[in-house]
């Protein structure tokens, strides 16, 4: 006979409601969001403010919850890939890649994937990484009050969107990387266009740096604001540019050495605190700027490989290894990969009988990165809070899944 426990499951909710009720007379409860443009989507923050000072931040999320995990339990592995697109919809390729990598490792075919397929995967992932960081930078500018970088970033991002649309047929939600291969080979002339894009984009980055990175107004708004110490970042499970912005040189592309990243030469940018101090908003922003440069390097190397060693042949079939039916052995598997936002993870439980996962859990980097917000925004001004939210670079599609 099992014992019945006597916990009150509503206790925390009641405690929270009491806290809001008991707010002192000189304080004010202020709702920031869910429709506020600087919350980057449908994030609602409940602020307890004393004048202009934020005493406490209570995030409320879930406005964009689309039951990814429940859907995952009733679809087969190949059918889940489009759902991963819609998690972090600014970096769909990277989500596809992480998910597909997990399924391939469960099937044990990860070493059979042709090199050309892997290089194309890395190429499109890095293009998507640049697009994602451009959004992060552009919208960060607009949060701070700089309108021009936003337009410039979107102009440049549009080139990437057009290229990826050319390859996959969709502008944002690609479903391009499949288990065991790709949807199609990249179109003829794609490599050339990548080269043209890199040549076009490098001077644009210089312009953007002059406009925003070294801008004194921007520095005043972001340097020394929202400092996230490294130990706090690790304890809260922050990853990606958040962790590197706190001064740790840690990138899963190098740590796990997955796909063809070991064959590619690139650096891991991390905050050095040239301006402000390590862990503040400016340093997190700077890590993203530096990562764009590194992604451009990766793209150049991939294009070189794709035109020389692993060039297009008539007999190359990117779908050759795509399984007709994906039935992994009974096992648990956790896969992690470096998304533009941080460590994206998928935890699968396969029962060994069906082509549907018994349970699939996604660990969204934005979800963990957002959870540190109440910690680093105690006692800041409301205007600084907006700067901090922007520097986290969250995508609510992934926070809420």
């Amino acid at each position: 006979m099992l014992e019945t426990n006597t916990y009150n499951y509503q206790e925390a909710l009641i405690r929270y409601q009491e806290k809001i009720k008991a707010v002192a007379a000189q304080e004010m409860v202020l709702n920031l969001g869910p429709q506020h443009p600087s919350t980057h989507g449908v994030l609602r923050l409940e602020l307890i403010t004393d004048g202009e000072i934020v005493k406490e931040v209570i995030p409320h999320i879930g406005y964009l919850h689309r039951c990814f995990e429940k859907h995952g339990e009733s679809l087969n592995y190949a059918q889940i890939i489009p759902y991963t697109d819609r998690m972090d919809y600014l970096a769909s390729m990277n989500n596809n890649h992480a998910f597909v990598m997990g399924v391939e490792r469960m099937l044990g075919i990860e070493n059979n994937i042709p090199k050309r397929v892997e290089y194309i995967r890395v190429l499109v992932c890095e293009l998507n990484r640049i697009a994602s960081h451009l959004i992060a930078i552009g919208t960060y500018g607009i949060d701070i009050g700089a309108f021009t970088p936003f337009l410039w970033c979107f102009r440049d991002r549009e080139h990437i969107m057009n290229m990826l649309e050319w390859a996959s047929g969709a502008r944002m939600l690609y479903n391009y990387i499949w288990v065991g291969g790709l949807f199609y080979d990249i179109p003829v002339g794609f490599e050339k266009r990548c080269e043209e894009f890199v040549a076009y984009f490098k001077p644009k980055m210089k312009e953007l740096n002059q406009l925003l990175t070294d801008n004194q107004i921007f520095i005043s708004r972001t340097a020394n604001v929202g400092v996230l110490p490294l130990d706090v970042a690790i304890n809260y499970g922050c990853s990606g540019p958040m962790l590197r912005g706190s001064g740790l040189k840690y990138d899963l592309r190098r740590v796990d050495e997955y796909s063809v990243y070991p064959e590619i030469d690139f650096e891991i940018p991390f905050a050095k605190g040239e301006i402000g101090q390590v862990g503040d908003c400016w340093n997190r922003y700077k890590v993203r700027i530096d990562e764009i440069e590194e992604s451009l390097k990766i793209i150049e190397q991939c294009v070189k490989k794709l035109t020389k060693e692993h060039k297009r042949t008539t007999e190359f079939d990117p779908r050759a290894l795509v399984p007709k039916k994906t039935v992994p052995k009974a096992q648990d598997f956790y896969v992690r990969a470096e998304n533009p936002k941080g460590e994206i993870g998928f935890y699968f439980i396969a029962d060994g009988r069906s082509d549907k996962p018994f349970r699939v859990k996604s660990r969204g980097p934005s979800f963990c990165n957002l959870s540190v917000l109440p910690e680093i925004s105690k006692g800041v001004m409301i205007a600084d809070l907006v700067a901090i939210i922007g520097s986290l670079d969250i995508v609510l599609g992934e926070v809420d899944r």
Binding site: L2, Y7, L13, G62, E69, E73, L248, V372
Partner: protein, 166 residues
């Protein structure tokens, strides 16, 4: 292999009963830990200078289905400095009654990252975490009934008299 070292360290500290079972033949070997000791085990793994598991990658609440009558929580820990990973699993039997949730120990005091993950597990799987500082629902509305990721979940037809079409 790191898992053998972890076993030695845990058995030396907590005795033989702490590791209930192990899954070593898997691609990612896992240890099945006594659910009453999981917070202590995590603390030990984090603070031990040879293991240094400072990063909680993922925390998953799992409903193992109607036949098995058990719930589980899986912890994926990793070490940034030492670059290794470990999977810990805990299980508890439960009769699936809506007012008798399975109770696990919260590891929020060890990893702050667990706070939102545990709220999510509570919200979607109906797993209660003892000593959690703020165990409210996180993704669903506060007045939602039932736990959607349970295998016996019946889809709600109405929410506040609004019909849910899908």
């Amino acid at each position: 292999m790191i898992i053998h070292k972890i076993k030695e360290i845990l058995i030396a500290k907590f005795g033989d009963t702490v590791i209930i079972d192990e899954e070593l033949d898997q691609k990612q070997p896992a240890l099945i830990i006594d659910p009453d000791l999981i917070d202590q085990v995590c603390l030990t793994l984090r603070n031990h200078e040879e293991l240094w598991f400072d990063f909680l990658s993922c925390l998953t609440g799992v409903d193992y289905g109607l036949e098995q009558k058990k719930f589980g929580v899986t912890y994926h820990l990793s070490s940034i400095i030492k670059n290794h990973q470990i999977v810990l699993k805990t299980f508890k039997e439960n009769d699936r009654e809506i007012n008798n949730l399975p109770v696990f120990k919260s590891i929020c005091a060890v990893y702050k990252a667990a706070e939102w993950h545990e709220r999510e597990a509570f919200d979607l799987c109906g797993i209660y975490f003892e000593n959690h500082p703020d165990l409210r629902r996180i993704l669903l509305p506060d007045d939602w009934e039932g736990y959607p990721l349970r295998k016996d979940y019946q889809t709600a037809e109405n929410y506040h008299q609004i019909k849910i079409d899908f």
